[in-house]
């Protein structure tokens, strides 16, 4: 396997092994007097800041800041980007993340000065386009989820969860129902769920999964009582399975006066097939950076709108976008006395909302349903073709993601992590591993719908080759990856002696060490 891991960008410095050379820190580059920006001549009187503010209140130049030209900046960041993986390079099978193609047209429309240059305090009368977009997006998300209102304010899924659970708490408080402190959470849930419950001063209570991988109904029934505020569900769940006992779950929870929060991370599987609002869910958050393809950006920004039933609308964060029935003008409604308050300084990640709206308009109803159909088809195709090579903990048709475990390969001393690292050599970003926690040695694969059958087949062949190699040459798999410049970074060292910033005083500490390093 050659050292081909550069996403096709061939023109970059390499060492004599053909490996991409490591790029030094920006602080290790540049030189005195280099300039990377451009400013017009000052056309108003200069101000002597030391005179204006008092000399003691002024700092000098920031010693450690670099001095580089625009060319240096471009080359530096271009070169380090080549040590990264993007969705455009090929299948990105990360379970639960929905790494689908990010359409280029979104990047074009969002940069229009009417959007990009808009200040949040621009009067509503001159922001009708932006407000109209937000209103239309809310309507579309309400239609997709079958729910009543949607707040576009939360910046990501976790913040959406926080918003949703706060609204549930406010709802119970408004009814004088102060005893409700418990939040029931399946053991397969994403870590943000119990973290969110604690944040809201509530007590997370774990509910076990049954042998099928879905919620244990009897365990749920035993815990659901008048001290329960909510159930936090994921549907389809983190095992990629639809909670088919949803009706009973709704009866039990509503029967004891609790609310149902549903984590919409897996919405990609059910678009147009079922709607949370129709199946008993009271609060549903949406990850725009998953289902609605706003770019992952290496970790954000995201968008976490929260859809709610009518009874929860009074508690939505403020402001909401409304339309004046007389003038037909859109406006921001701050007059919401029961609102939980605000979770973002302004109105949410507007730039992300524009992209999500453009996507929904490009697809339409038929396109959205096709997303779910192809996503589920692709995952089942992978499951069928790999089930002879990897252990399948839940042998039933999956939804948009399939989970294997490393049980078969472990017999040869090869773990899920090793399989992941070896997949890198085949040119793929690894799937999600060791999540959900209820499956030991889990490998979670989500192909999404934005992949051709040929690319699926190539991925499947790579997985089959690794399974075979685990039997015939397990050491080679365990020593993977072989094709990246760095291999098996010492995370224990990073945690024991954290070095979290470069400093001019300690520049020596940061010098790369060891053979083959560059500076």
């Amino acid at each position: 396997m050659s050292g081909e891991n550069d996403n096709g960008n061939g023109m970059a410095p390499r060492d004599d092994q053909g490996q991409l050379k490591q790029e030094g820190l920006i602080f290790e580059r540049g030189g005195a007097g280099r300039v990377g920006f451009s400013l017009p001549e000052l056309d108003v009187p200069e101000v002597d800041v030391a005179a204006a503010w008092g000399e003691d209140n002024v700092r000098g130049e920031i010693a450690g800041f670099p001095e580089v030209s625009e060319v240096d900046v471009i080359r530096h960041f271009t070169r380090i980007s080549q040590h990264n993986f993007g969705v455009e390079s090929g299948l990105f099978p990360l379970g639960s993340c929905t790494m689908k193609y990010n359409p280029k047209v979104h990047e074009r429309v969002v940069r229009h000065p009417g959007f990009a240059g808009a200040h949040p305090y621009m009067p509503a009368s001159v922001m009708q386009g932006g407000l109209d977009l937000m209103r239309r997006l809310e309507a579309a998300l309400a239609a997709v989820t079958g729910m009543h209102r949607v707040t576009l304010q939360p910046a990501a899924g976790a913040q959406g969860e926080l918003t949703g659970v706060m609204m549930i708490a406010a709802y119970h408080a408004s009814r004088g129902d102060g005893k409700r402190r418990k939040v029931l959470i399946p053991d397969s849930a994403h870590g943000t769920n119990p973290a969110t419950a604690s944040f809201c001063g509530l007590e997370p209570v774990e509910i076990p999964s049954n042998s099928e991988g879905t919620t244990d109904i009897e365990a749920l029934r035993a815990e659901a009582d008048e001290t329960t505020a909510a159930l936090m569900l994921t549907n389809p769940n983190t095992l990629g399975l639809f909670e088919d006992q949803m009706q009973q779950i709704a009866e039990i929870m509503h029967g004891c006066g609790a609310q149902i929060y549903c984590d919409g991370a897996n919405l990609n599987a059910i678009l147009g097939k079922t709607r949370p609002g129709d199946i008993g869910i009271d609060v549903f958050h949406i990850n725009l950076h998953k289902t609605f393809t706003t770019p992952h950006g290496g970790g954000g920004p995201g968008g976490g709108p929260v859809a709610v039933g009518e009874h929860l609308a009074p508690f939505l964060p403020r402001p909401t976008v409304e339309v004046d029935s007389d003038s037909g003008q859109a406006f921001l409604d701050w007059d919401r006395p029961d609102s939980i308050g605000k979770v973002q300084g302004f109105y949410g990640n507007f730039g992300i909302l524009v992209r999500a709206y453009a996507y929904i308009r490009a697809l339409g109803a038929v396109g959205l349903r096709q997303v779910a159909e192809d996503a589920v088809l692709n995952a089942n195709y992978i499951q069928k073709r790999l089930e002879g090579h990897y252990h399948l903990p839940h042998p039933r048709l999956c939804m948009h993601e399939v989970i294997f475990s490393d049980r078969t390969q472990k017999k040869h001393g090869v773990t899920a992590m090793d399989i992941c690292k070896r997949l890198i050599d085949h040119g793929y970003h690894p799937p999600t591993v060791y999540f959900p926690l209820v499956v030991s040695g889990a490998l979670m694969i989500e192909p999404t719908e934005t992949v051709s059958r040929e690319d699926l087949d190539t991925f499947i062949e790579a997985m089959i080759a690794i399974a075979a190699e685990a039997e015939t040459d397990p050491e080679h798999v365990r020593a993977a990856p072989h094709s990246t410049f760095l291999s098996r970074l010492d995370e224990a060292r990073a945690a024991r002696k954290p070095i979290l910033a470069w400093r001019p005083e300690t520049a020596g500490e940061h010098e790369p060490v060891g053979a083959g390093a560059t500076g």
């Binding site: 995370e491 224990a492 945690a495 024991r496």
Partner: protein, 132 residues
Amino acid sequence: MAEYPQFYKYTAEHEWISVEGGVGTIGITHHAQDELGDVVYVELPAAGDSLEAGKPFGTIESVKAVSELYAPVSGEVTEVHDELVEKPELVNEDPHGEAWMIRVRLADAGQLEGLMSAADYQKFLEAADSGH
């Protein structure tokens, strides 16, 4: 097979305690450090703090996991092994010796009766293992 010192007592949460003159020295077992992986951080109480048997007295972190440390007995903390904060890797290297965590003046020596001997602890580990 790890050697579990004969004169130590053990808990189901994988702590050990060694008592001399009414003062117990406490750490975690070889099994615990093995499960955790490379230990990166240990958070310990201060001298003078009081411990309650069965309640957490600190935390221990590896790269991918964090666990509470549970007090085998009740009592007052007399000494804290501060060096562990600087060198958490000692827990992996010598969990039963160099990596002692705290010393406690026992409030009630009778509590030791409820803890496991080395042989019992070893059986406990074997039973847990076969259940997987």
